[in-house]
């Protein structure tokens, strides 16, 4: 009797997660139908976003999301791989422990703090170097890169650490240098895990709000240079959700949210199912 109740309670909780995910999609979809019916494909291909004219084209925000994430990846990936190599192969035990834990703790710091640092300390430097406001695509890409770096380095290191010692030793036993072993054995062996980790980090970066809200500018305008202020989907949502004053405006914002959710779902699903499937158990 109690056994049955217990089973049903736990099963309901487990099913609840599927239900919530489905519900999120349905709700976002329903609320964005008005915008989709009004604008059709123009919603994602036009970049005119003029609430006073009831015109909503999400292209600039989508472009900003993709461009800032791309820039962040471009900057973060080489450094993260370098850090991961350092942590798994170069550092001695004690440094490895200290450094490894610092990286993991830094990954836990709220992203809003990276954003505040970016606004108060990093943007002024960009302003001094490049002139202009300092706020814009480049600032967003850099702050995003720094924010995602600890997570990316930690998961990449974990992927590299799955390489069996005996395999590395075999390459050393043939006269390989450390770098030979890294590039010929560790990276090929852990390739799927490494790529999966990087994509997982990409998934996080694309949905990141607070690290970039401060430094992007929130201007609905497709940037012509990386110094231009622009916006992204999360930045638009963060800035405008509480200001929306018409049902079409709201609907367009929900349309943005749905677009973002689909983008991140696809990216994360690719990382999980295509690259990280095998390594699931070890994770």
């Amino acid at each position: 009797m109690i056994d049955k109740i217990f089973l049903n309670m736990t099963r309901t909780s487990a099913l609840l997660i599927l239900f919530i995910v489905a519900w999120i999609f349905v709700v976002l979809f329903n609320h964005s139908t008005e915008a989709m019916q009004t604008f059709g494909f123009d919603f994602i291909t036009k970049d005119e976003w003029a609430p006073n004219l009831e015109k909503f084209g999400a292209y600039a925000a989508i472009f900003g999301s993709v461009a800032s994430t791309f820039l962040a990846m471009l900057l973060a990936i080489p450094v993260a791989i370098g850090v991961a190599i350092f942590l798994s192969e170069i550092a001695h035990d004690r440094i490895k422990g200290f450094f490894g834990v610092s990286v993991e703790l830094l990954a836990a710091i709220p992203s809003v703090i990276y954003g505040m640092w970016g606004l108060f300390f990093f943007v002024p430097i960009l302003r001094d170097i490049f002139g202009g406001m300092g706020i814009g695509l480049l600032a967003a890409g850099i702050v995003l890169a720094i924010m995602i770096l600890p997570f990316m380095a930690a998961v990449t290191r974990d992927a590299m650490n799955t390489t069996p010692d005996i395999l590395k030793e075999s390459a050393y036993a043939l006269g390989g240098t450390q770098w030979d072993v890294i590039k010929d054995v560790i990276i090929p062996y852990a390739k799927a895990g490494i790529i999966g980790s990087l994509i997982l980090a990409l998934g996080r970066a694309i949905g990141e709000t607070m690290a970039v809200t401060f430094v992007m500018g929130n201007v609905h305008h497709t940037p012509s240079s990386i110094m231009d202020p622009t916006t992204s989907i999360p930045v638009t949502l963060a800035n405008e959700f509480t200001e929306a004053d018409s049902s079409l405006y709201f609907s367009s914002l929900f349309g943005l949210a749905l677009t973002l959710l689909i983008m991140s779902f696809v990216v994360i699903a690719v990382a999980k199912f295509y690259f990280l499937r095998k390594g699931r158990k070890e994770q």
């Binding site: 075999s170 050393y172 043939l174 030979d180 010929d184 090929p188």
Partner: protein, 261 residues
């Protein structure tokens, strides 16, 4: 008290008063081991688990150096120099002294690239030379017939026994002087084990072989000399037939008659 025979033939390695202590360990894992290794012959190392066989084997190619903090004392002479010297060129040493591990360790690349790996590290780029030497190594490792049609395939598609022979091919392709085997058949089935044992015997024409094994029959089948180790000491080193039939030390006798271990 240890009974070490004097080897009349030429020796490839000479271990003298060699002690080894792992990082952080309070006592050495090898205590003043002295041991000649005869050239072009097979020397087996036997003894109960934890007696230091692997530790000794991994000293010959300075594998312990991959993990900082371990301590070597004494001397291992090879080609007229002490290879324990901190200035020893480990890359060069490891091309001269190859190693085969407990489990097959095929690299995540094609069969051909696996065998060519060591040669490529040495800068051999010429395609015909590489192809010739890869084929020769695979033939010497008695696996050529099985893989010649799929050299470009991923090496991890081979069976365990095939992978182990591939690893042997990879090791002999760089023409080492000495080959170290650490329980090379412990992960293999009896048929594959037979194949590896036959190979070990054939290979001694060209290289000196040291093989660690838990299996006394295996030691008896493949080796010319056998060393019995116990708690970090080399108790006895002798001709294999003599050691197994008329051991000089009481401990050796107790071990080979199965009284402990």
């Amino acid at each position: 008290m240890a009974s070490i025979i004097d080897i009349k033939d030429e020796c490839s390695l000479h271990v003298r008063d060699f002690s080894f202590t792992y990082k952080g360990a309070s006592a050495p894992s090898l205590k003043k081991v002295t041991m000649p290794i005869a050239k072009h012959s097979v020397t087996a190392l036997i003894g109960p688990s934890g007696c230091g066989k692997t530790t000794l084997l991994r000293s010959f190619n300075r594998m312990h150096d991959l993990y900082p903090g371990n301590k070597y004392e004494g001397e291992i002479e090879f080609e007229g120099r002490n290879i324990l010297d901190p200035k020893e060129d480990l890359i060069h040493l490891r091309t001269k002294i190859g190693m085969i591990f407990q489990k097959p360790t095929a690299f995540p690349m094609s069969i051909f690239d696996n065998v060519a790996y060591g040669m490529r590290l040495q800068g051999i780029k010429n395609k015909t030379e590489l192809e010739g030497r890869v084929e020769k190594a695979l033939q010497d490792a008695a696996i050529w017939k099985e893989v010649k049609d799929r050299l470009k395939h991923d090496a991890n598609g081979l069976s365990g026994g095939q992978q182990q022979r591939l690893c042997i091919a990879r090791a002999i392709a760089v023409e080492p002087e000495v080959l170290l085997f650490d329980e090379p058949t412990s992960a293999l089935d009896p048929i594959s084990t037979q194949g590896i044992e036959r190979l070990v015997i054939e290979l001694k024409e060209r290289v000196s072989i040291i093989i660690v094994t838990h299996n006394m029959q295996q030691a008896a089948r493949v080796s010319d000399y056998t060393g019995f180790m116990y708690l970090g000491d080399l108790i006895e080193l002798g001709h294999t037939e003599e050691l197994f039939v008329t051991p000089k030390e009481k401990l050796t006798q107790e071990y080979i008659t199965g009284k402990f271990g």
